[in-house]
Assembly symmetry: C2
């Protein structure tokens, strides 16, 4: 998690761009070229995604600290799409970006160990070390309890830069069906999940005072965001729901501490489809994404304390 926080401070920007491509988001020219070469196939679509992603990354990498590719959109193109995911992760890292793989993975024991090694680690094949995906952080679902989280922490080990984000209070309208249910008098399911994040992260707190175990908390529930910020002092928040889902800069402000740290706010659609609002023909898609990323940065930094390293670092 430290590398992420360092990048946020360096770029003075607590936002992450969700790389969630769909065919509808990609300008006609990019698709036409890919389909001409590879056909109207999963492969052709995956090539269009990759061209698109690389151009977006090139356009934002000096402004935005991180990208968050959402696995679902790549799996939708079968293994060709998953290959594009791996290539996107590598490319973003080459360009100095922190990569949060949004897979919301969950399982137990040796199976979770496999997910952990797949997305955050490596595998040894008869003495040869291979990196399957090589992300920096992974989103996970904690419904299965500690058995689902421990394998991740084992794979991360002492690496200060890797991390996980556990779903705590998600941004969607029906998140309360389970997450808001009361456990006894005063505790909700989401608060209990948040407390587990603090416990899982205990002993793994880095130089910025946040642990390797972060939490996903939606921008669409600002009161819960502030409540959880106070309750979970060492848990870094990944905040979806800004922009298209309805959350504004004031709504996300509760995620941040007095140093302007503690959270990173995601935007996908508004950045990826910014070109649809420029009046152009789509050839300006990367520049439009950059402009929207800068607008978002300025919007959010104007609503939170100035970003700086905690005293003594």
């Amino acid at each position: 998690m430290e590398k992420l926080i360092r990048r946020i401070i360096e770029r003075n920007n607590p936002t992450v761009v969700g790389l969630d491509p769909t065919l509808d988001y990609i300008p006609a020219q990019v698709k036409a070229e890919a389909f001409a070469e590879y056909g109207k196939t999963l492969r052709g679509a995956a090539h269009a995604y990759l061209t698109y992603n690389k151009a977006i990354i090139d356009a934002i990498c000096d402004v935005v600290p991180a990208v968050k590719p959402q696995c679902a959109y790549y799996e939708l193109l079968g293994w060709e799409g998953v290959k594009c995911l791996a290539e996107t992760i590598s490319y973003a890292q080459e360009k100095g970006m922190y990569v949060i793989t949004d897979g919301k993975r969950n399982d137990i024991g040796s199976t979770m160990q496999a997910y952990a090694a797949a997305h955050l680690g490596e595998i040894e094949i008869e003495g040869e070390r291979c990196v399957p995906f090589g992300g920096d952080a992974l989103t996970v679902n904690g419904y299965l309890g500690t058995d689902g989280i421990k394998p991740l922490l084992e794979v991360i080990g002492d690496n200060p830069d890797k991390g996980i984000f556990v779903l705590v209070k998600t941004s969607n309208p029906s998140s309360g069906e389970l997450q808001d249910r009361k456990l006894g008098e005063n505790e909700t399911v989401y608060a209990a999940m948040g407390d587990m994040c603090e416990r899982w992260g205990a002993g793994k707190i880095g130089r910025y005072d946040y642990s390797k175990v972060g939490a996903v908390v939606g921008a669409t529930y600002p009161a819960q965001l502030s409540e959880l910020r106070a309750r979970l002092p060492h848990t870094f928040f990944l905040v979806p729901g800004y922009g298209a889902q309805g959350g504004g800069a004031k709504d996300v402000a509760g995620a941040f501490d007095q140093n302007g740290l503690g959270g990173i706010v995601n935007s996908s659609r508004a950045v990826l489809t910014a070109w649809k609002k420029t009046g152009g023909d789509g050839r300006d898609f990367a520049q439009a994404a950059r402009a929207e990323a800068i607008r978002m940065r300025d919007d959010i930094t104007s609503a939170i304390p100035p970003i700086h390293s905690p005293a003594g670092i």
Copy 2:
């Protein structure tokens, strides 16, 4: 879900073999051939997995109704592994098996729609219809509520054979950390999740009286299995935890109704590594898997009511 139940009745076998390969499970000869051709690489390992999986499928397909490939083990080999997953799914279906893709996927809205289409549906690419993975059922995590489930049901639509299995009470030791917590006086988190499965499945009940929305309930908690069977009359159970994790035939019996239906019990390790106990050199791995699959079938059918179609079908 109907196709699964039909296959269970036809084969008189309520079990599923988990196709969870690891390099350690694969006999030396199979690995040596793959590494000789493709190197000690992710690609080489993926080819070893595929050869191994196909031989296992060939050996069990007339005895066992379904296979359950666990995504994590394929992702561990990067996109080459995910390609092997897609090929394994196709091969098992060609051989007449029902395929439950064990991905425990979860997200919301258009993202969940992408997962649903990826694993249970298709994508249209400029008028061409493509099938990304083509599984018959998918395991999912319901922590996000209805927003995470509805897109799956939309993609499944009227297809009577497709289905989902929602995590309710998992087989691992720490599953109770959240799942056993009490919501008010008498209800647990897992029971609340089970009730949501019944609600999500309402109106989608097929000819065998079970809906398209199943639940994952572990063999390691037999009391909860019986409790949930009584509580969730239209929810079909996928039961992990038999064998290596400690559950026996008597422990899983509570999953079944008076027709011997209502559940399917998974075994992975015991089937996949049966060859290690034959005293052979590993060349008998497929036959050993078949023998263990038959043993498991006989063990479980001896502990439950005779399997038959409900009256009137």
